[in-house]
């Protein structure tokens, strides 16, 4: 049961269980940033969850429901293929499975399922299913299915086409559009999102079979093929599909007919290449973009370590809409309906560092998205009686503004759905966006980005905080009624994380303004309407930041340290996250010293130069036992902090647990999609944690401490516009400047170095 290691490049499943399909559908999902495709099987199962998501195509089901907000619509399925073998439908819930494996090869992006199946009537067949989403032609998905009857000849019936009956768990986002066969060979279905009017054109063709019976049904177009295969002869079927939408930059303003024609033409081109060539070209792109370009290599006696990093890099690649700055990363990437494709703070705090160091162009695009979302952020600030830019907690299309749903799961006490307050009061997202800009600028030095987008983002977020701070009876400025990263605490005052970061955001705005005064007064003049220097200064000096107790513990918020304490061991040892909700409702949890994730510890990682090692230790000792890690974002933060504090084996075990969020034994944790932030966290554990690459204050620092069973860690990092190879062993650090167009200053193991070509420290 579960996910296994199939070599250093391959995630494998060696046992089929029709009751837990969601896991592999998500963790083995395919994609290319433009689209994401859950790895549902060709044959249908009751518990399957098919999913095709195209980045940025948000739509709202609408209606009277408080819980309906815009989301990425689940588009038509074309993977499905009904396979009848001598009159029996191929299904692994029947007959006997004599051999089974499913493997996702990260090197090539190819999914391969191999089955030897004995049908209930005793006939034996070998089936192999290959599939890729093209990294070369982003609109293309290719499937190859090979069927070999092993016992006797077989009459085979194949039913396949395009099925637009798919919904987002019952919410249908599409009107049915045109259905069309071209030459009895190409099938095309048009779907249009109901509210946003985005057209999807899905076109597909099957080769290796002939003389189809063609058919249409509601929201469906399909072909039925009959053929005969002799014993031991292999039938090879290829199905090539293209997906185009009117949201594509190239399709803007295009008529439906034109879009249909482009889609057909692209399909004709692609299908003429055939599966193997499409797959080869796609694998070549994978090599070029990722595996030859920015690999993270771990020499460890546990092969899972290397695989975990490839898993992370694979998903960080397929989830990022690097092709379009009007789009961002969803909390589940493009691998499921979870969190509706919405973008959270996960982007800046958990995923962005990967892109900043590995693919700075993608990182820039992700932050440009925030810039393009400024109008909605300004509106949101206004709605809340503030000025400047207040970013939405959940964000979808750039003009959508706040899209957090209003109702969640059942309250066990009242029997009613729990109201979701995050969209209203989880306001730290605004300083997280600013933190993203700061990180990006720190690492890249991309002044062009700052001039066009970055400064305005920093100033406008500062303006929000200046207007959001409330003067208290103590004469200081407080932030009341918020939710911090620890979402187990609702409607709290003086959240340490939020207050610290808000103050920092104001400082940063002042700092950048001062810098511009010297470096670019012309731009400063252009940005003048966003600058309220005196106000920032006046506010920042009075921001209340929670002070540590005598024992060094910083109160997470105004009341936390006085809340009731209960025995949490049951929940610390839980098998599924959130088990505390089985015993308490949200109001009750709100009154206990328990954290979903620990605000103060995360703060100590992000603002690490603001705290002493003693403070870190004191807070770790206090908060770690009270943290249930019920957020998938929690473990990587704790791993890095543990490593910083010298708790190396704990750091590694927390890293392992972070990897296990998606790759582990819990067969349900990824049903709604992979955990994008957590996957960013896997990379962070390795590169920022063990590798020790960090942005601290105004320095880039390298302070590696590898787990003792890692012989070597090698990774690539873009710093200030140059690409470096960094190789770390237990007793050496070597840095190669591959670009060699300048120098870089680095603090390594506490000393400053200037690296021009190569630096080796032993």
């Amino acid at each position: 049961m579960g996910i296994e290691i199939g070599g250093e490049w391959t995630l494998a499943e060696s046992c089929f269980d029709s009751t837990v399909l969601g896991k592999c559908e998500a963790v083995m999902s395919l994609g290319n940033g433009y689209l994401g495709l859950r790895s549902a099987t060709e044959e249908r199962y009751v518990n399957e969850k098919r999913g095709l998501f195209v980045a940025g195509t948000f739509n709202s089901f609408g209606g009277v429901a408080e819980s309906e907000v815009c989301e990425l619509p689940n588009a038509a399925d074309f993977l499905e293929m009904g396979i009848s073998l001598n009159g029996t439908d191929f299904s692994l819930t029947q007959g006997t499975i004599q051999a089974y494996s499913r493997k996702l090869n990260f090197a090539t992006g190819e999914l391969h399922r191999h089955v030897v199946w004995m049908s209930p009537d005793g006939q034996k067949y070998q089936l192999d299913f290959y599939r890729i989403t093209s990294m070369r032609n982003l609109h293309t998905i290719a499937q190859k299915i090979c069927i070999t009857p092993l016992s006797a000849d077989a009459e085979v019936q194949i039913t396949t086409g395009i099925n637009g009956q798919i919904t987002n768990s019952g919410s249908q986002h599409f009107s049915e559009g045109a259905k069309r066969f071209y030459d009895k060979k190409y099938m095309q279905l048009v779907q249009t999102t109901t509210q946003t009017g985005i057209e999807f054109v899905i076109t597909t063709t099957v080769s290796g079979l002939s003389n189809p019976h063609i058919a249409m049904d509601r929201r469906k177009i399909f072909s039925v093929f009959n053929t005969h295969i002799s014993k031991n002869q292999k039938l090879i079927i290829e199905k090539i599909t293209t997906v185009h939408t009117s949201r594509d930059k190239l399709s803007e303003g295009m008529s439906t007919a034109k879009l249909q024609s482009i889609a057909l033409s692209n399909l004709q081109d692609q299908s003429s290449l055939g599966y193997d060539e499409i797959a080869r070209l796609s694998a070549e792109s994978w090599q070029k973009k990722v595996w030859d370009n920015i690999p993270v290599t771990i020499d460890s006696n546990n092969p899972r370590d290397q695989l975990s990093l490839r898993f992370a890099q694979y998903h960080l690649q397929v989830m990022a809409p690097f092709h379009d700055n009007r789009m961002n990363i969803g909390a589940k990437g493009l691998s499921g309906e979870g969190y509706k494709g919405h973008t959270f703070w996960d982007t800046e705090i958990f995923a962005l560092p990967y892109y900043i160091f590995s693919q700075p162009k993608t990182a820039r695009s992700l932050e440009e998205y925030r810039y393009l979302s400024l109008p909605g952020a300004r509106d949101k600030a206004k709605e809340n009686g503030c000025v400047g830019a207040q970013f939405p907690w959940e964000s979808a299309w750039i003009t959508d503004g706040e899209v957090t749903p209003l109702l969640g799961a059942a309250d066990i006490v009242t029997g009613l759905p729990i109201p979701i307050l995050t969209g209203k009061i989880e306001i730290h997202i605004t300083c997280d966006v600013c933190y993203g800009v700061w990180q990006y600028y720190m690492a890249t030095g991309d002044e062009d980005f700052m001039e066009r987008y970055g400064y305005e983002l920093v100033f406008e977020t500062a303006n929000f905080w200046a207007s959001r701070l409330e003067e208290g009876e103590d004469g200081l400025l407080h932030i009341n009624n918020v939710i911090g990263p620890d979402e187990y605490k609702d409607e709290i005052d003086d959240d340490a994380f939020t207050n610290y970061c808000a103050g920092w955001n104001l400082y940063l705005a002042m700092e950048y303004r001062d810098k511009l005064e010297k470096s670019n007064p012309e731009l400063l003049a252009d940005l003048e309407k966003y600058i309220n220097y005196d106000l920032w200064q006046q506010k920042v000096e009075k921001v209340y930041v929670p002070k540590s107790r005598e024992d060094g513990v910083i109160p997470q918020n105004k009341t936390y340290l006085s809340l009731k304490e209960i025995d949490l061991s049951k929940y610390k040892n839980q098998k599924r996250v959130g088990s505390i909700y089985n015993d308490f409702n949200h109001d009750q949890i709100n009154e206990m010293q328990v954290c979903k994730q620990a605000d103060v510890l995360l703060l100590m990682l992000l603002m690490e130069d603001a705290f002493t090692p003693q403070e870190k230790r004191a807070n770790w000792d206090y908060y770690e036992p009270r943290t249930l890690h019920d957020s998938s974002l929690s473990l990587s933060t704790h791993s890095i902090l543990a490593n910083d504090m010298g708790d190396f084996s704990l750091a590694y075990s927390l890293f392992e647990r972070a990897c296990a969020i998606d790759m582990g034994e819990n067969m349900h944790s990824s049903n709604d999609g992979i955990h994008a932030g957590s996957i960013g966290g896997i990379w962070q554990c390795a590169v920022l944690g063990f590798g020790g690459l960090r942005l601290v204050g105004d320095k880039i620092r390298l302070d590696p401490k590898l787990p003792e069973h890692w012989k070597r860690l090698e990774f690539y990092a873009w710093l200030q516009g140059q690409k470096f190879k960094i190789e770390i062993t237990q007793n050496s650090i070597q840095i190669d400047n591959l670009t060699q167009s300048g120098t870089i200053e680095l603090e390594i193991l506490g000393n400053m170095f200037v690296v021009r070509n190569r630096l080796k420290i032993t």
Copy 2:
């Protein structure tokens, strides 16, 4: 495989096949006129099609699609029950089925499934599933599930609740509304139709289990129960559910909260009765309404004959919304999504006779629906440049007007969907409605109905025809560009059926006007604005009615007899209807002498006194071989005609084939629902055909000719407000007037009789 006879009262399935679930879901569907429930199983299967339909709750998905029209929305499912037995999900696709039966008992309306199942891990269990929709409290559905572990003790987990993710083949008609647990015991889900704003409140409770884990998901509310059963001990679980909607007459204008509270309160009352008592009360109602009241009894050596009639009566009872005259019968009853719950001519021509003779109040309600739909019919006439009332080919809510979709299945030549023209030009529905009024009045003599609704319907339909007739070059009045009952002929002129019936409609209007002049001049004055006597007279005299050729064959339409003839044997012997579309497209079929059903033969049944026996024979001999019976309405008509002509064994075999449309071996024919018109046809074959009860001209006639293996046929008929028992044997007829409040004139075997108390002819 397939449907079997389980005694004279029971439809049975003795073998489970997960690939053909639709058949039993439909033919064993439950209902009570208020709601219809497909008989999907508790456990889920890939090919299942769950369905809950509440009469009259039409909604349109809307959007840009030409194929989206209003339909009966498929409401939330509550039948589903996940059953985990010692950790293995109960599913008949796994393990071994050691005993299996599923039986629908028409006497009680109870569905019972019995399974002895060996799980894949070798544990044996007996499971019994009982289910009814209450005929007493129309809002109530009751389930009882009994589980007995036969090999060892069992840990059982039950997951069940309400699932609002159900769609109509991908079209979601509901916004998600409130979800609520009351006392952790009652689960409630509110759904609101997106366009018509009809609220559905579904409330359910489970007994026999305790300490649920309660949960909500998107459009879902459910509970998870864990329990232990000792070996050979029976766990009995009851789940009682109520369905209420804001379309219910009693709920009109009610707030959602009030409706929720009424629903909860009804559920509390019902569930306090328990399954057995709810089932007993419902069975009592079945006895009272149908089986003790209006049974059709056949003494035949083939028990399937009796069962077929009970099947027909059962479905005619559950499909008819006898409680509300704003609703009518859908072409698939309430048993599936097929034909979208729309009402066609099937009501008047195929189903109505049953109600007229068996339940005249229901018949009246169905025709009142047409009266209430007059505004839409008047609008449709106007849109087509006519006056009077043109009834929609497909009809939904009384104010909806025409609701026929515009696009159908794939055209094999063009690759595009076939345009559906019936809503535009299949205009005979208007005389069919008039025929329904005539039939009802003829049989019942219900003058109150006529005064309130009937005369206006007849006059306004006549006005439509008067304005629709077109003067031809021959100086006669033609009806061009129509589709007759034979839908294989598009856009034709002078359809025999339409022209004859239109002329008859005009004559009938004149006749009723003359009658009213004498009997009720006051009413005549009230109706004056609908009366155009001179115009009717002037038109009716010039209506072109196709004349028979020398050989007696009446041309079905202007061109039919000159069309190409092809060898139809392949299609006459087809296993699935419509196979001709695999070889030809609609335009090609339009150019051949082939009928879906035979217009002229149906005409000869409905207007039987207008044709001589020789004409009937000549047309039978011509059209029968050219008729593919690709309409389910065709066979019963042909059976009755064959019997009339003395082809007794052919008549019986056509009757058998008519019964087989739903009850036969084709496991796919009923997927989208039972065939309401065809089921009316089963009853017609027996009572109008073999039993020989007919309305002819101004007479009620009884001219029975039983199949030779039928010893006896006994049925009840309401005639002119009195109830008669009619018993027919091979050599006797006995008529008992059960009401004895007057006399009735009947033509029996060619002679007129006046029946007061009892008449026996031997």
